[in-house]
């Protein structure tokens, strides 16, 4: 089996007349952590959502775990079970308890029996440090806890790759650390991860590769130290100086 987990080539996506992705190439090795950064509206979420076909690409090719998702005959439901997705707004199933959030797809999609699904669920809840919340309803949890449950839910499907779309952006600052801690742990365990984030410190520490996107293109790409520590492109520099030191730049700053 090859070591390539995600391979994207010439990916294009438009919403009607709006071209959001204008030709993206990206290869993610197995076990690699890739962070995607860039200004609002640059197409980061769209790129991530194309990787599990929540958005239908308008052009190009996406191969995940050896399956071409852009093939019209692909069994997308089967392919998605191997691609975990974590959303900015958690999206826990609000009518199900925590444990049922983790078992519902295992049972209905992977056809695991109740007992083994529960065992796997409990193991993953432990991984994210929430064993004591098994029977809670999502509404009874803090944002940080909900997001960790969402991560455990995705992990319960035994995915080959995990996609994170700004997993900490909707959280109170004091809850961000717990979620990033879980993600750091996952990275250390060798999970392949694609992370859209504004947490530059996290990207620096954890990412093997950082992508800077702007205007539907990948503008700069390389090891975290280079892209964040020593950016070459003017647009990357401008973006980073705003993110890292927002108080010194007004919204009207020239690009």
């Amino acid at each position: 089996m090859s070591d390539i987990c995600v391979e994207i080539s010439g990916l294009k996506k438009s919403f009607g007349p709006l071209d959001v992705l204008k030709g993206i190439d990206l290869t993610v090795q197995r076990g690699e952590v890739v962070c995607i950064i860039g200004p609002s509206g640059s197409g980061k979420s769209t790129l991530l959502r194309c990787v599990n076909l929540l958005e239908e690409p308008t052009g190009g090719k996406i191969v995940v775990n050896g399956t071409e998702l852009t093939d019209p005959d692909v069994d997308i439901d089967a392919a998605r079970t191997k691609i975990g997705m974590v959303f900015q707004s958690f999206n826990l199933f609000s009518h199900l308890t925590v444990v049922n959030n983790l078992t519902v797809a295992q049972r209905k999609v992977l056809k695991r029996n109740e007992k083994s699904a529960q065992e796997i669920a409990l193991r993953n809840l432990e991984r994210v440090g929430l064993s004591e919340k098994v029977n809670a309803m999502p509404a009874q949890l803090s944002g940080g806890q909900q997001q960790r449950v969402a991560i455990a839910r995705a992990l319960s499907m035994d995915p080959e790759v995990m996609l994170f779309d700004e997993p900490t952006s909707a959280l109170d600052p004091e809850l961000v650390g717990d979620v990033l801690g879980v993600m750091r742990q996952l990275a250390q365990e060798g999970m392949t991860m694609l992370v859209v984030t504004h947490e530059m410190q996290f990207a620096r520490e954890v990412a093997d590769k950082v992508l800077f996107m702007d205007g539907g293109y990948v503008v700069e790409e390389g090891p975290a130290e280079e892209v964040i520590g020593n950016p070459q492109q003017e647009r990357t520099k401008t973006f980073l100086s705003r993110v890292l030191d927002p108080t010194h730049h007004g919204p009207g700053d020239p690009e």
């Binding site: 599990n52 929540l54 998605r80 691609i83 959303f87 999206n91 609000s94 009518h95 992977l110 499907m157």
Partner: protein, 265 residues
């Protein structure tokens, strides 16, 4: 003579109470209490209605309503899904159905099912099928719109999360969307049940045998043998045994769901 605003409001309130007392006093003086008592509160007539009104009439009203509601709910769900379908003709058919049956009197539907269908198709429904079909057909038209609004009120993120876990469209609807939609629409659906309970009285236009009597028919039958309004009043109170708790339940549910309003147009 200047009067403060507060003083004026106070006098106005006194005046309202005064009017109330005056009207009550006039009624007390001039009303023929004996006549009112025998007309509305004829205890002998009322007592004679028991226990049949409970063990037969109320029971049948509940049975007819539950049958109609169940069928209407199932049909309403199908119509709601049709209305949300990406296939145009499904949407049009659902719209035509809903607009038609919300626009015609329920009584007409009862006549159609109980008399029209047997004449036209030589097909005779028993009382339970008639109640289920007629009430269900009418109820479905109203419930479809409620259910549709409920389904649309389920956040899009719930669907995306389910699909990301590999659930098919159908599986997502059955496991995630519809259960959540029903939680959202439980209060309006309870109101729908109240309306159907009252509409079940329309079945009294059909020739029913004694064991099939529901509250309205039973009230009318008793009335025809006792020249008093008491049977109607008692039958009305019996409806309240069903509708008041349901109304209370509906308000409770509405409060529990945090007053999350689903606008039903």
């Amino acid at each position: 003579m200047a009067m403060s605003k507060r003083k004026r409001a106070q006098y106005f309130r006194y005046a309202q109470y005064g009017l109330l007392v005056l009207v009550a006093a006039l009624i007390a003086i001039f009303a023929d209490w004996e006549k009112i008592r025998t007309a509305f509160f004829n205890l002998d007539v009322a007592i004679k209605m028991f226990p049949t009104i409970i063990v037969t009439a109320l029971k049948n009203t509940i049975i007819y309503t539950v049958l109609g509601f169940t069928f209407g709910l199932a049909l309403g769900l199908v119509l709601a899904l049709m209305k949300l379908s990406s296939v145009g003709p499904y949407r049009w058919l659902a719209t035509i159905y809903i607009e038609f049956f919300r626009g015609v009197p329920a009584l007409l539907v009862f006549i159609a099912i109980s008399a029209g269908v047997p004449l036209a198709f030589n097909l005779l429904f028993d009382i339970y099928s008639t109640a289920m079909l007629a009430l269900g057909i009418v109820g479905a038209a109203y419930m479809a719109e409620t259910i549709r609004a409920g389904i649309q009120a389920v956040p899009k993120g719930q669907v995306e999360a389910a699909r990301s876990l590999g659930m098919s469209v159908v599986r997502t609807n059955v496991t995630i969307v519809i259960p959540q939609a029903f939680r959202i629409i439980l209060p309006p659906l309870t109101n729908e049940l109240i309306l159907l309970t009252k509409d079940s009285s329309l079945i009294s236009i059909i020739g029913l045998t004694g064991a099939q009597y529901e509250l309205t028919k039973f009230g009318r039958e008793t009335l025809s043998r006792n020249p008093s309004l008491t049977p109607i009043l008692v039958a009305g109170l019996a409806y309240l045994i069903i509708t008041l708790p349901l109304g209370y339940l509906s308000r409770r549910l509405e409060r529990r769901t945090g007053g999350k309003k689903v606008s039903v147009v």
